[in-house]
């Protein structure tokens, strides 16, 4: 994605919509709805992921409906296809999400390969992405950190490609920065690291590599203080982005004195 140095707001454009926040936040695993909302507010996120599940029948909880708290008129709701292990259930989930959200087209497509790793089933993801694009969805696709596959998803018409940095919920950080950088260099759609960050420095590294954003959930929700971590992540993303735009100094094998050598009196 080209760098927008001349726009001080430096937005990321996803499916034609400009977002000043480059942090996309999930809503799973929080203690309660209140904590979810406070974490979202502290993160500054504008794109919030949700899952689509069966309504509990006859088990009226005190918890309000998620979309009454995270309101679609205030946030861009990004329904995911988490839990789908085949293309058909992912497509079905997106169709239900579109109905639920009054025709909203933006979805996060993930078709998982196995429960242990939650790595994507890439062939099944391709099938689902093709069908969803045909159905006029704006597809943000979760995939491996594979530069060739990332390019294929872009060519297919996905509006953003979201390589994992490490397995979902693992918090292992950016395990293959060279692949992520190659994906970014090749891309002309936003590249958003989806999954794997554990703390703010991981998010900063992703941004320093040139990623357009980071999508996370567990790193915030499972922090001892999720709201504080949400704020830390916001800053990590912002400083990583600024460092990328600023352009880091070259690495040297040996020292280079910061103070002048001329004019010494000793």
């Amino acid at each position: 994605m080209s760098v927008t140095k001349n726009n001080p707001e430096d937005p990321v454009i996803i499916a034609g919509q400009a977002y000043t926040s480059r942090l996309l936040l999930g809503t799973g695993k929080y203690k309660d709805m209140d904590e979810t909302l406070h974490a979202i507010e502290a993160s500054g996120s504008q794109i919030i992921t949700v899952a689509i599940r069966r309504t509990n029948i006859g088990q009226n909880t005190d918890e309000p409906n998620l979309l009454d708290v995270i309101r679609p008129d205030k946030y861009t709701i990004l329904p995911n296809t988490a839990g789908c292990y085949d293309a058909d259930s992912a497509i079905r989930t997106c169709l239900l999400a579109r109905e639920l959200l009054d025709g909203h087209k933006l979805v996060k497509l993930e078709v998982l390969g196995d429960e242990k790793t939650l790595f994507p089933d890439v062939p099944a993801t391709i099938i689902a992405a093709e069908e969803l694009i045909k159905e006029d969805f704006d597809v943000m696709v979760y995939t491996n950190d594979d530069p060739i596959m990332a390019k294929r998803f872009e060519e297919m018409g996905c509006v953003a490609v979201m390589p994992l940095a490490a397995p979902i919920g693992s918090g292992l950080g950016i395990r293959n920065p060279y692949n992520i950088r190659t994906i970014v260099e090749n891309a002309s759609v936003p590249i958003i690291v989806d999954a794997g960050v554990g703390t703010a420095s991981d998010a900063a590294i992703a941004m320093e590599l040139g990623c357009d954003g980071v999508l996370m959930n567990t790193a915030v929700a499972e922090a001892k203080n999720p709201v504080l971590m949400a704020s830390a992540m916001k800053k990590g993303i912002e400083s990583g982005r600024q460092a990328f735009l600023a352009g880091r100094m070259p690495r040297r094998a040996y020292a280079s004195a910061s103070s002048p050598i001329d004019g010494t009196f000793f």
Binding site: G28, L66, R92, L215
Partner: protein, 65 residues
Amino acid sequence: MQITLNGESLVIDNQVNIIQLLSRLEISGRLAVEVNQRIIPRSLFSTYEIESGDNVEIVEAIGGG
């Protein structure tokens, strides 16, 4: 008549449309309904009659990443 609702069987005494079904189940709020794996748009809730043997799914948005 018997239907399958969110994976479980449910007996209903008489004919209902989707609005009536939701109100009988005391479900409200933002949701989407599928009957036999076909989405039923909200605009049709008051006219779409549930039939015996239908497989009904009612879904909502919950927390997820």
